[in-house]
Amino acid sequence: MAKTGFDIRKITGNRLFMPLVCLAAVLIVGGIFVPDFFAVSINNNVLYGYPVDIVNRASEVVILAIGMTLVTAASGGQDISVGAVMAVAAAVCCQILSGGETSVNEFANPLALAIIAALIAATLCGAFNGFLVAKLNIQPMVATLILFTAGRGIAQLVTKGQITYIRVESYKVMGGFIGKCPVPTPVFFAIAAVALAFLVLKKTALGLYIESVGINGAASRLIGLNSTMIKFLTYVICGLLAGVAGIVASSRIYSADANNIGLNLEMDAILAVALGGNALGGGKFSLMGSVIGAYTIQALTTTLYAFRVSSDRLPVYKAIVVIVIVIIQSPAFHRFMAEQKAKRAAKNQVAEGGN
């Protein structure tokens, strides 16, 4: 009896326990109420089904969530400009490919050049945020508010206010499918980004540095860590990843729509971090948690679509779920549960004493 109790605590004590429970809860609800929720089929050489849809659509949020997790851990704040940076990257990419036309059927410039330029633009945006946060010590939310408001304006400036269409098959690959591969390409982007992030954290001490700086910047400086540089680096990484997400998103719709690419995705990315059990105040982090969080959000969205909830009304349910989840994760709720447990324990003790 005592032994099983210990085991359970070991499982529930794991950092990934709550995020996984949340994901499972969403999937179970979907599984019960949506027919064929877990069914996957192959039509025209392409995988179909809700699970595929979830994994595919979550890709951008997964990519963003990686950067957001690092930024949150190191600076104790969030980068709310990632959605706008996605739009900037998409705009730069499409503008170079189109050579200034609003709609083209073939590339005006090499694809590689466009992608590199887009990633550089996104990285510069990240560096700008990083400079404000790390060097000038501005709160992350405020610092990134600047690009949050300016970003889409800049993107429109790049595309001259037009929606630039790139009607070229090879451009659609990044948001579509590679040749005959039945798995959507964005999934590979997400997996690659996650794998790369894990590799970096495993093979370098960056993770420990980020946590250390996020928890106590002054102490970190005195033990030889360059807090400024580390914070700056996380924002640069975050910007770069936003660029990748922007290109994927743009490829999906083979265009650069400055007003809609990455719209509200910063919110999803932040939610993913929170759902992953990471403290938004910085410090210790779990990248895997955030990735699970990102899939949870998409699973929720897909499930709601399956319930035929219109996209306009979707936010209502998202909000309710978010609130329920953050309440469950809140310190006050934990205290409440602990108290209840203690009370029950006390009762049991009394009962045993009576016997």
Partner: protein, 505 residues
């Protein structure tokens, strides 16, 4: 003449997850007495205070004030019941004026609106009556820490409290300010206020307290009249064993310095606004003390050497080579280590585990691209937990849940792991129980014997006399003297610190 009991706590128990912080503790405070609450770190002093002030709720027991049973659920409740508290860390709002900090929550009002004029006037009167020289309309953040501490006390004093709790208020005050504080305490005492005084300074206890309650490991050891309890006995009660006295650390470590090689040599090193250009030479295997009042530039001097504050003039030689140190990392690579004064703010990385806190400096020194393996980390952590006898549940326990003394040991372990030639210890024993204090002092001497050079900063002259072979004295951001050999006597040091005599050096 036995005075009336104003506060009594009976059979108080408090458990935190996994820790029994207080078990069946009694405490009694009489009207008009200063009552010292003593114990080593982790003895339960802070918990008892926090239970009393409503920060924590106790599991069982009873608190009565003036015969009435009370339960404080929040500091607000405690205040309403006449219990005011001044904590070790200043708990005021930096963005408000001095007057507001004194009166917030009970501002004088006219027609329902705050009457700023009256408030400032009342504040000025209050500050004047307590001899605190500060403008009531100034912002709190502009005041020095000592003044802020005095303002916090003034606030507590003005609240018409029956019980005043002073939780280590003197650790950031210099002698003059402590004297002022004691004057204040005596006046309150005469008014019949019961004062609970928590401190680590034995001298202060014997100077001002009437009674002493000693706690150990969350249990009550006993309540004593100060007069009938000799110091040695008090220490023994706190330690819970026959105390083999600090005297067994010998201070026979003088002489023969000249023959040794010079490790650090600074000439005209300084930092604008904090420390004026100074010269200092530190030899191999030597323990050098920096003495001076708080704010005299002790910490600032070592910070310039270590590169924590970049020096803006002068030269620094390490092992004969001239170097420029711009960041702590460069200093570390030259074999330096720096244990900062403020353990909480600049030392520990609270949420990280003991293991991570121990290895992080070495990891930083190695660089980001060469991470230590898990095994390497665990071995290092275990080695120092063992060597320094760090009391922790496991090496994966977050450092924040350790007691202050053990946290300090972790940080010492962190630096020893980097194998430095030159260790700077800035107040390593502040706020630490006597047992650990002695251990740290012994360790310092041992390290010096092994050939490491150490700069030791402390507010306690006795401690420095025991460990250091040379003392550099600072006053007002300037090095004013150097005392070595036979001259190392308490009076001589005091004189130099106070600046009564022409200094040499």
């Amino acid at each position: 003449m036995e005075s009336k009991v104003v506060l009594s706590m009976k059979d108080i128990s408090k458990t935190f997850p996994g820790v029994k912080a207080l078990s069946h503790v009694d405490f009694m405070l009489r009207e008009g007495e200063v009552h010292a609450l003593m114990g080593e770190n982790g003895a339960g002093k802070s918990t008892l205070i926090k239970v009393l002030t409503g920060v924590y709720e106790f599991d069982s027991g009873e608190v009565t004030m003036s015969g009435k049973s009370i339960v404080n659920h929040s500091p607000q409740d405690a205040q309403e019941n006449g219990i005011s508290t001044v904590y070790q860390e200043v708990n005021l709002c930096p963005n408000l004026t001095v007057a507001e900090n004194l009166f917030i929550g009970r501002e004088p009002r006219r027609f329902g609106m705050i009457d700023w004029k009256t408030m400032n006037k009342k504040a000025a009167e209050l500050l004047k009556s307590l001899n605190i020289e500060v403008e009531p309309t100034g912002m709190l953040e502009e005041c020095s820490i000592a003044i802020q501490q005095m303002i916090a006390i003034a606030r507590a004093v003005d609240m018409e409290c029956k019980v005043l709790i002073l939780d280590e208020p003197t650790s950031s005050l210099d002698d003059e300010e402590v004297k002022k504080l004691f004057g204040l305490m005596r006046r309150l005492k005469d008014k019949g206020v019961g004062i609970i005084f928590v401190t680590h300074f034995l001298e202060q206890v014997y100077e001002i307290c009437d009674r002493i309650t000693v706690l150990r490991n969350g249990e009550l050891v006993g309540e004593y009249e100060t007069e009938s309890l000799p110091r040695v006995m008090l220490v023994a009660k706190m330690m819970g064993k026959d105390f083999d006295d600090l005297a067994d650390i010998k201070s026979e470590r003088t002489g023969g310095i000249d023959a040794k090689e010079t490790l650090i040599e600074a000439k005209g090193l300084g930092h604008q606004g904090t420390i004026r250009p100074f010269d200092i030479a530190i030899h191999k295997g030597e323990v050098v003390g920096l003495a001076g009042l708080l704010g005299s530039g002790r910490s600032e001097l070592v910070r310039t050497i270590y590169g924590a504050d970049k020096p803006d003039c002068g030269t620094l030689k390490v092992k004969g080579q001239e170097v420029k140190i711009g960041t702590p990392l460069e200093a570390m690579k030259l074999g330096m280590a720096y244990l900062p004064e403020d353990r909480k703010k600049e030392g520990i990385i609270a949420d990280l585990s003991v293991r991570e806190n121990i290895i992080i400096a070495l990891q930083a020194k190695r660089g980001m691209l060469k991470p230590m393996s898990r095994k390497e980390m665990e071995e290092a952590a275990d080695k120092y937990i063992d060597m320094l006898q760090i009391k922790t549940a496991s090496r994966e326990t977050p450092i924040k849940s350790l007691s202050g003394g053990n946290q300090q040991k972790v940080i010492i372990g962190r630096w020893l792991l980097t194998n430095p030639d030159f260790l700077i210890l800035d107040e390593p024993t502040r706020g630490i129980d006597i047992g650990t204090k002695t251990e740290i002092q012994k360790l310092v001497l041992k390290l010096a014997d092994e050939g490491k050079s150490i700069v030791f900063i402390s507010s306690e002259v006795e401690e420095m006399l025991r460990t250091c072979s040379t003392l550099h004295i600072l006053r007002d951001g300037k090095k004013v003297g150097e005392i070595t050999g036979d001259e190392l006597k308490q009076e001589k040091i005091m004189e130099t610190i106070a600046g009564g005599e022409e200094s040499h050096g």
